[in-house]
Symmetry: C2
Subunit: 508 residues, 2 copies
């Protein structure tokens, strides 16, 4: 009986860009009845290895019905297509996933064993190479939750995450940085702190993130004032000229495994001290920092909910930082309500400008927080200690030096921009009188997002009252900003369904 | 400023059947730039609630580029479409997922706390209602791994899984069942055991599963001999007439949460005794069994790898069974090599027929295993004890009573079928002489699947040698069976790349 000459079923498939964005998880699409499914035993939700020559990734399989794909075609999700970059006439090979050895260490960790440094490195290397599925990463995060990681394991995890991406080096012995644990809406101190400290001659090459679930990240706000998507060469030139920068870290690939794990941690709402510490410090070490000031807001709706958790986290941050020779200052701050007035990229940029330009209407809480953090950075940088460092920061801000320095940084990054104002605005007024007793930060942020932030950068909201303020009926509590009438309508609809976002107590 | 009248962005979307089978996880597809993404802050891989009136499910979001979906449309994966069953003119509403309270118990379990019965019930109820994502289920499985579940928790998990589906009740005080922990290829004793025991007047309403990763499940094999997709009424009539049945359990919805969890456990390769015990016993309790015989193959490539693990598992099985008043017999059996000759639905059915019909060429190992298990069931059913129960089973099989009983059962299920033989067969011969030292069960099963099993039910392979057999060069080791020349070619190609599936030692 002669056998037909056939390629192995998973080989020589023609890749098709199927135009579906599935987020971080790669998906491969096969037509129903594909010989590859039948021959290889693949079915919906199988994990498989997709390769074009030496380029390969792990994907989850979905089966497409109808005529969209031919029998010798395989569809690729956007993330898989962009990573494999198939050239014309290149073919794809599908195979069963190679066994991922480091998963046995994840299981060992679940069984309570302490992992050796090499095991932690192997896990992180496999995650970096996209060899873990989402559920495998979830098992790893579960295994590391609570206090399951000891100090050596957190140190190993931090080092491995640093090695998963680029590592910056800067001239000079003291490279300063600041970081906020868990954002309060509007807590946009970074541009102010960097301007003050670099105006005083300190070096502060700051990388920031864009919003993931919030109405604005520091990089979104800074993008309203200057270009932030700088390549490494331009970032270096900016720092050479001004001593500092405020750029988007995503273009520079610092500790990318951290971003992968954060996506799963956030979905699981599991936030273990060990992983939080590795996450924060790996980014700082990769950025080349030697001295870091941590802003740790503590409050019932902040990431760190009470003083006990603050102590545990601070203790581990210090111990791990010490192992990497990183000097650390931790500032516990008030996490009870939003900071400043604006929520949304442009609205927060206006707050930053008001403080830097020392305008009468500047938000005092943002100003004072930025000064306290700047003083801590000045002290870490060895320019002054205690009260004089705060005086130095205040003088730098009040004299206009910080504002001139900010303009120089923006110039070096590509030119100062004016944030602009949204065309559609609508105040949300108090239905009755009373004293402001609480602000629901989560719903406030949701209203800002419905109004369009951060994708519509002028959108968001501005807060007109603060905790303890007396309010009369009809007085504006906050004002929604939108770039289209439709978005304003969406946000208004949401606000009208949640009338207690600003909670008023007994009449003042 | 007048605001336009717009529905809330996630409301009144037109559902489209997008024709993509994503397996167990529901996926919703929105067009790029959809107002729902923008307004609700949904992005790729967001979890969202999809509802049509009171019908709702949780889905993962993917974003579709191009013109495939209009701005007011939402695509649904096959599983989501089939579960929501949108009628013409019905609209879909998307919303942020409601917070799943029981996830806090999963986190508590990760933090080492013992869960109360109500907490375990809440977790299982939420999983049953499809409120958990895959990564959330992975976290739950991780939390329960190793020996993290105590006896009370396993009992609670078992009871909750029973309550997640249908529960069968049968007349009479003694309802018998058997179960094999972790299948060896070809270990198809069930049809023989049921025929012997019900011929002797015992009641054995057996539900079996189809293959998930193996070349055949008991339901696949039985389907070659009689209809197995019976509804409950027909299953009941079969048991009334004959005392037994061998049907597919999938049609009857027994402990469906177990199937959901097994999918994730298999992907993670995490197999904790607590979850295995809950999985096995919940199915038996839901099926209405009072006495269960467990076949526990122990061997390096079997599910239970060594006697220590066998002891732990047996102890927990007994303790949990006792709490439900379930009488349990555990038989540890040899798990070193495949059982019988055929691997694949029809090929295994031929083995079963050969034993039932007492043919000279019947596989003796399958016959002896089936007799030992039947004897244990007879003993559990109180018909005999010790040696006499084995004699009773042997007499029933040798006399042809079991074969007549099997024909009666098949008749009651819809009529005896003849399994047929695959048209394309090719022997794989020894390249040299030697003694059979080992069989790679995993690769042997893979070759059978590449030949087409279980989807092509006549496909698979038949094994021509057993451990210890002397072999001369050119002698067939096994024979591939396929329903098409292409599938035979795929399997041959695989076999030629893996020449050591049957490992030969020094010449005999």
């Amino acid at each position: 009986m002669p056998l037909p000459e056939l390629p192995f079923p998973g080989e020589r498939l023609r890749p098709q860009r199927i135009g579906i964005d599935t987020g971080g998880e790669h998906v491969a699409y096969l037509p129903q009845g594909s010989p590859a499914c039948h021959g290889e035993g693949f079915g919906p939700h199988s994990r498989l290895q997709v390769s074009i020559g030496p380029r390969r990734l792990m994907a989850t399989l979905a089966i497409v019905q109808g005529e969209r794909l031919a029998a010798d075609e395989v569809g690729l999700s956007e993330s898989a297509w962009l990573r494999l970059q198939p050239a014309a006439h290149e073919h794809v090979t599908l195979a069963h996933p190679p066994s991922v050895e480091s998963l046995s260490s994840v299981r060992a960790k679940l069984y309570g064993r302490v992992l050796a440094e090499a095991e932690v490195r192997a896990i992180v290397a496999d995650i970096a190479a996209h060899r873990y599925s989402n559920i495998e990463m979830a098992a790893f995060i579960a295994a590391c939750s609570d206090d399951h990681l000891d100090l050596d394991e957190v140190v190993a995890l931090t080092a491995a995450m640093v090695d998963s991406g680029a590592r910056l080096r800067w001239p000079g012995p003291v490279i300063l940085d600041k970081h906020c644990v868990g954002g309060l809406p509007g807590n946009r101190t970074t541009p102010i702190v960097v301007s003050i400290c670099t105006a005083l001659g300190l070096t502060m090459p700051k990388t920031s993130s864009r919003a993931i679930t919030s109405p604005a990240g520091t990089a979104d706000t800074m993008a309203m004032l200057a270009p932030v998507e700088l390549d490494l060469a331009r970032m270096r030139r900016t720092v050479e000229h001004t001593g500092g920068c405020i750029v988007w870290g995503g273009a520079i690939n610092l500790a990318p495994v951290d971003d992968t794990l954060i996506r799963i941690e956030r979905a699981l709402d599991i936030d273990s001290p060990g992983q939080l510490v590795a996450s924060i410090l790996s980014k700082k070490i990769a950025a080349g920092s030697t001295h870091v000031v941590i802003d740790m807001p503590v409050g019932p709706t902040a990431k760190v909910r009470d003083p006990r958790r603050a102590r545990t986290l601070e203790r581990m941050l210090r111990a791990v930082a010490e192992r990497f020779g990183l000097a650390l200052t931790v500032l516990r701050t008030d996490g009870a309500q939003p900071v400043g007035r604006g929520v949304g990229p442009a609205l927060e940029a206006h707050d930053v400008l008001a403080v830097l330009q020392n305008l009468p209407a500047q938000p005092q809480d943002l100003r004072e927080r930025a000064l306290a953090l700047a003083a801590a950075v000045i002290e870490a940088g060895g320019r002054a200690a205690g009260e004089p460092s705060l005086a130095l920061a205040r003088e730098c801000l009040d004299s206009g030096r910080a504002w001139r320095q900010f303009q120089a940084i923006c110039q070096a990054q590509g030119g100062l921009r004016s944030p602009g104002v949204a065309p559609y605005r609508r105040p949300v007024a108090a239905c009755r009188g009373g004293r402001v007793e609480a602000v629901d930060n989560r719903r406030l942020a949701q209203a800002a997002k419905l109004a369009g932030a951060p994708l519509s950068p002028l959108a968001g909201l501005s807060i007109d009252v603060r905790l303890g303020d007396p309010v009369v009926v009809g007085q504006p509590l906050f004002t929604l900003h939108a770039q289209s009438p439709g978005e304003l309508a969406y946000a208004m609809e949401y606000v009208s369904r949640h009338p207690d976002i600003v909670h008023l107590g007994a009449a003042a």
